[in-house]
């Protein structure tokens, strides 16, 4: 048995379909949803852990990709160098689970690691390049 942590990005048309149930039923892949940001009519993202024979995991990933789901390996953790942060908010643009937030009146960036699905998208989105990932 192998385990693999993946970040799944669902286009809005796929969000409503019972994709995860299919993974379990059709592919015999134990699917543990660790974190999810899914809402009808929106782009959705999920951090999942798949547990099965490697060949079954590969088949499940192929199935997801055929549906139009973007499948990426999850990272371990993200680090932000707070001292260099200018609080521009550009990183919040790609953080669909809202782990990164910037709000009035302070307009200071806040990172809630409990909500982070470890997709790593904020790394490229930060114009100051102060977010890094640990694999």
């Amino acid at each position: 048995m192998a385990k693999r942590r993946l970040v799944l990005t669902f286009p809005p048309e796929v969000v409503e379909r019972p994709v995860v149930a299919t993974l379990v039923k059709e592919f015999d892949v134990l699917t543990n949803i660790l974190r999810a940001q899914v809402q009808e009519g929106e782009v959705g993202r999920m951090l999942v852990e798949l547990e099965a024979e490697p060949s079954a995991i590969r088949a499940a990933m192929r199935y997801l990709e055929e549906l139009g789901v973007i499948v990426e390996d999850a990272i371990k953790d993200i680090d932000m160098n707070d001292e260099l942060c200018i609080d521009c908010g550009a990183c919040t643009a790609v953080c669909l689970p809202r782990a990164l937030k910037i709000e009035p009146p302070e307009w200071k960036i806040e990172l809630d690691k409990e909500r982070c699905i470890l997709c790593g998208f904020c790394v490229d989105a930060c114009p100051l390049k102060i977010i890094s990932v640990r694999f």
Partner: protein, 388 residues
């Protein structure tokens, strides 16, 4: 009762001037009204801190022995413009490194200079009788050069558009990373804090206005490039989308790298975050009313950046108050909204400028020439010949 800039300066010198930041002024006008505010308040300070690609630095490197008329010049492998006499150069903020590409560029050179770092200078020349040197390799820093001043052709946009992405692939733009399927909307204006949104018809901001630029006192040198005053405006005169712009100048040797930061927009390139603050004298009730503008009265349009054409149509009109709420509805879906410019830093700059004025060290100037209040933009057409 109307005031003059001279009278306001007298009050600043005596330490009596009442100075509010633009967000404080918005609250004050809403509570007490513009008439009352115009009597009580002398100056309103504005601020903005966003990526401003049209920025750069003039530097005079000093002469070598034997001297050289530099023809091609690189600093840390970034090409800079040298077609100005012998040792004058211009560092453009978006110039890219010959060796590191989009990872390092003109914006980084400017930030590194402000941090006191040494830059590797490489130059070549066609020797002449008066300038015999052919090549040079050495190091410079902000202290070793003669003049060093930022001279930015286009800064402090009076409002700007919002970006979204209707395509099915991620877009990497100067407006940040745009998620497919209208997944997000980004915006880049300090809204009610922004200088030109508080003086919509450029009554007080003109050529010669003393400003805060990168932590130093500087000046409005001219109206900025792509200055476009003849645009759609709200009944109170606020442009809906990009309007006027400013060209700014200030001494780099007096700046702080806290207010000038290099940026790398993924797969777009290098830019520069520039910190700007402009003081607005409250000459009369109209100026009090202008500076009382709030984020719920400033509107802009959202555009689909997956259509890279000049003639794309706006998808929706939104107010900055809506953008600040964290999401907007677009094409029947909820999209997250995210700023690209730092509102926290914009407020900080307005506060620093307020404190400079309160302490008496920063006086206001009377503009020596008005900014154009009419005019729109030409386009670049593809022509077969130089006529028509």
């Amino acid at each position: 009762m109307a005031k003059t800039i001279e009278e306001i300066n007298e009050r600043i010198k005596k330490g009596e001037a009442v100075v509010l930041t633009a967000d404080e002024m918005t609250r004050f006008v809403r509570e007490e009204g513009a008439a009352q505010a115009s009597k009580k308040v002398d100056v309103v300070t504005t601020g903005t801190f966003g990526p401003m690609c049209s920025s750069g630095a003039f530097i005079n490197l000093g002469h070598s022995d034997p001297p050289m008329k530099m023809h091609r010049v690189w600093l840390n492998d970034v090409p800079v413009c040298a077609d100005l006499a012998a040792v004058d150069i211009y560092i453009g903020a978006t110039a890219l490194s010959d060796t590191e590409g989009m990872n390092y560029g003109g914006g980084h050179l400017i930030e590194d200079l402000l941090k006191g770092k040494w830059l590797r200078l490489k130059a070549s020349a066609i020797p002449t009788d008066c300038y015999p040197r052919r090549e040079i390799q050495t190091y410079i820093n902000l202290e070793s050069v003669n003049e060093a001043f930022l001279f930015n052709p286009r800064n402090a946009y009076q409002n700007y558009v919002c970006a979204t992405n209707g395509s099915d692939r991620t877009l990497y733009t100067y407006m940040g990373v745009l998620i497919p399927g209208y997944g997000n909307v980004t915006y880049s204006s300090a809204g009610a804090l922004s200088p030109l949104l508080n003086d919509p018809y450029y009554r007080t901001i003109g050529v010669g206005t003393r400003v805060f630029l990168g932590g130093a006192p500087g000046y409005v040198a001219w109206h900025g490039t792509q200055h476009r005053p003849s645009v759609e405006r709200t009944p109170r005169g606020v442009p809906v989308g990009p309007g006027g712009t400013l060209s700014l100048i200030a001494d780099m040797k007096k700046m702080s790298h806290e207010f000038i930061r290099a940026a790398r927009f993924h797969r777009y390139g290098v830019s520069l975050y520039v910190g700007i603050g402009v003081p607005i004298p409250i000459l009369d009730e109209e100026m009090a009313s202008f500076t009382g503008v709030g984020d719920d009265e400033i509107y802009t349009y959202i555009y689909d950046y997956s259509e890279p054409t000049r003639s794309r149509k706006p998808l929706k009109k939104v107010s900055y108050a809506e953008l600040h709420s964290g999401n907007v509805e677009i094409m029947g879906k909820k999209a997250i909204t995210a700023p690209i410019s730092s509102i926290r830093m914009a407020k900080r700059i307005a506060q620093v400028l307020r404190d400079w004025i309160k302490s008496g060290e920063f006086l206001l100037t009377e503009p020596v020439q008005k900014l154009p209040t009419e005019g729109t933009l030409n386009t670049l057409e593809i022509r077969d010949r130089g006529e028509g």
